[in-house]
Symmetry: C2
DNA sequence: TTTATCGTTTGAAATATTTCAAACGAAGAT
DNA sequence: ATCTTCGTTTGAAATATTTCAAACGATAAA
């Protein structure tokens, strides 16, 4: 690999690590995603391990979590029946977005549940916070709408991109 | 405070702590926000300290960060010139959302910058990742649009709510 | 069947983060 | 002017998280 390519790879790994951390995820997650994005071919656990200079333990665990989040998937490799090979999901950004949507839905849930509990408590003192919970629920419900609209819109945009 | 009110306060604090952590922020941040949301009156640092059972150090630091993020603000208290009193920003949810928008913008920036670097490297090997960066930039640019539309829409919805 | 290699699990070590207690400077109260 | 009390800062202690190395079970290769 040329020096310039090497440099770009390093920067990609670095920036994705920071970005993932900023979203409250493991930095190593970002590193693995970046590495797989960069690689034209799927990579085995050993290759990821070697390229990132980490040991097998954490790589194995984080790869599982990335799979659970639908950000990467196993790739079938005809030449090698032993190792598992991984690649990024084709719709990785959409999946990342959907994971975020789950957090939003959780906020909606919190607001709704607290709102109900306050209501059934019939306490006058809780009037202000009740008002806040109503506002919060409305906010995140509207947000869910926009998230869903975005997904529809992106599906169109993306299909244009790949035609 | 009645038992039921106490219980609701505790639950609010608990859930907000978890939610903040899920977004990659400090759990204590969520606790303070919940406490201030719950309280009809602004609270002093000492009161926050006492109610959350923590010492002054971390409370002071986190309160500063919350202020930087525009999630809380100082409230003027005519009876007490000594202490600082805090309350949640009236538009706290919108501000939290804007903080998130900054993360999105950062993702757009990453994609754009890497895209440019790959382009100027003129490397054929980097074609696939270049394609990915183009897709990524489009994705997050579209997302920015939706975020901005949402803000406009929420402004309307909120003004309806408070009329 | 035996051997070798894979991915996972696990307990310990290293690291990062959170929390506290004490010290400090600033500013209102006396 | 002196005394309190406030919020902040800071270094150490406690806690949480990340990371590693070794052991293990499973499965392909010999």
């Amino acid at each position: 690999m040329s020096t310039i390519e090497e440099k770009i790879k390093k920067e990609l790994i670095q920036r994705f690590g920071d970005a993932y951390k900023a979203f409250g995820l493991s930095k190593l997650m970002g590193h693995i995603i970046a590495l797989l994005l960069f690689s034209p071919e799927p990579l085995s656990l050993d290759e990821i391990t070697k390229q990132l200079g980490r040991s097998k333990g954490p790589i194995s665990q984080i790869v599982r979590r990335l799979r659970d989040k639908h950000l990467i998937r196993k790739a079938w490799m005809p030449n090698d029946n032993r190792k598992d090979y991984y690649e990024v999901e084709p719709e990785i950004f959409e999946h990342a977005f959907r994971n975020n949507l789950e957090l939003i839905k959780n906020n909606t849930r919190i607001a709704k549940q607290l709102k109900e509990k306050i209501k059934s408590s019939k306490s006058e003192n809780l009037k202000p916070i009740s008002q806040r919970m109503i506002e919060m629920e409305k906010f995140y419900l509207l947000m869910e709408d926009y998230y869903n609209d975005f997904l529809l819109s992106w599906a169109k945009e993306r299909s244009k991109l790949f035609s």
